[in-house]
Subunit: 245 residues, 2 copies
């Protein structure tokens, strides 16, 4: 198949399924190891993300060592304890504490995707105006991996409640390398039908229409075919894009 052949309906459905059925997994990890050929596909997918100036600023640290994961878990526990108190003022501390927000020790593999801010030398094409483009590129690699994982039946959770300086020290990162994403990976008992924070009433999904502006900020989308098309998409897309067997 040439790169320019249209996607078949099944291929399109696969892409949309991955997007809509992807979850931030914290609680459903199974201990089963990820086979090397599957892990190779996930890393390869991440490596084919777009990057500013073809900089490819990412590295991948595969963390299986239990002592390292236990140390990261301690970093999480400390940061999470500090975080919980921040929600006291809003009366949500107890609700916050009930949420499970990481699967560091439950998942068989942790993966830190880093961003080497010096890669490609002092002048990187496309990064001359916006220095953060390297970090943004590394995020795109995260999402490639996250979606590929979903298509392989593997759950991913991003642990963001960590002191990055101490994480960098723990993983031995050079000064110019930023620990962009600390991820937990593994097969799961199930993918939940909707985000856990939504199910648990922490926060609801915003109406997409309210987030669309025409030509400049604050000009709402005019009534017309796009608004109609968006209105037709309010049901769960996974039901729309795939058919029952």
């Amino acid at each position: 198949m040439t790169p320019n052949a249209p996607f078949t309906p099944d291929q399109q459905a696969g892409l949309y399924r991955a997007i809509y059925e992807r979850r931030d997994v914290r609680s459903q990890f199974l201990p089963d190891a990820i086979p090397p050929e599957v892990l190779a596909r996930l890393l390869h997918a991440a490596h084919h993300a777009p990057s500013v100036g073809f900089m490819q600023p990412w590295d991948f640290i595969l963390i299986e060592d239990l002592a390292t994961r236990q140390a990261v878990k301690r970093l999480f526990d400390e940061a999470n304890e500090a975080a919980a108190t921040q929600f006291a003022g809003e009366g949500r501390e107890q609700q916050y504490r009930r949420l499970k927000l990481e699967g560091i020790l439950d998942s068989p593999l942790n993966l830190c995707i880093t961003c080497d801010r010096s890669r490609g030398g002092p002048h990187v094409l496309g990064r001359t105006s916006i220095l953060e483009m390297d970090l943004f590129s590394a995020c795109l690699a995260v999402q490639n991996l996250w979606l590929a994982a979903r298509a392989e039946g593997i759950g991913v959770g991003w642990v963001s409640i960590l002191d990055n300086d101490r994480l960098a020290q723990l993983l031995g990162l050079p000064e110019q390398v930023y620990p962009l994403a600390y991820l937990c990976l593994g097969y799961v008992s199930e993918f939940l039908p909707q985000p856990e924070l939504q199910t648990q009433g922490w926060r609801q999904r915003l109406p997409l229409e309210s987030l669309i502006h025409q030509d400049r900020w604050g000009t709402p989308l005019a009534q017309g075919p796009l608004q109609t098309a968006l209105g037709n998409m309010t049901s769960i897309p996974a039901v729309d894009t795939t058919t029952a067997p």
Copy 2:
């Protein structure tokens, strides 16, 4: 189909095709309008990206107005002129100037994906340690849209050579809203078989193996099944994951 049914081989192939055949498009845009139902699917896909604390920090500014696009193009021209001189020291200024780095006026639709840094209030779950998690979340929405666009036969180019403060002013953004990604969208005459910067000799793809570390930075991947599996993936994946009709 339940959310937990395994992906079929065709569905998996669709996801991997989108990842491997996606390009940062600058030169191949066609003027054809994007139908509203297709645009709705792209925005909906972006809106279903993961976000820290289910914050959904993104907004979508659809920019069709010619005068606005011309003004953005002037911002690009100025920033690009400044950028070109930075490559003089490396003897690459002429090569830089030959590259086409945007399709602002050639594409039928520009889209600015923004990040509202105040959304969800002062305390956002998961953003208590790393304040930039909102920006990173918005990047994940960009990649969802970029991949969905590829599956729909639509090219996307990210224009990063812009003064963000002036862009924000031009689009009327409130102070707390950051113009994360200025994108050009449209159908294309072709998707190139590899990244343009690679074809033009600006920079080559790094060997994935060299970017993988075991447990901590600097410990190379041990010889074993993963290294073997990675070695088996060096051919163009689009050829591997789909079959000729």
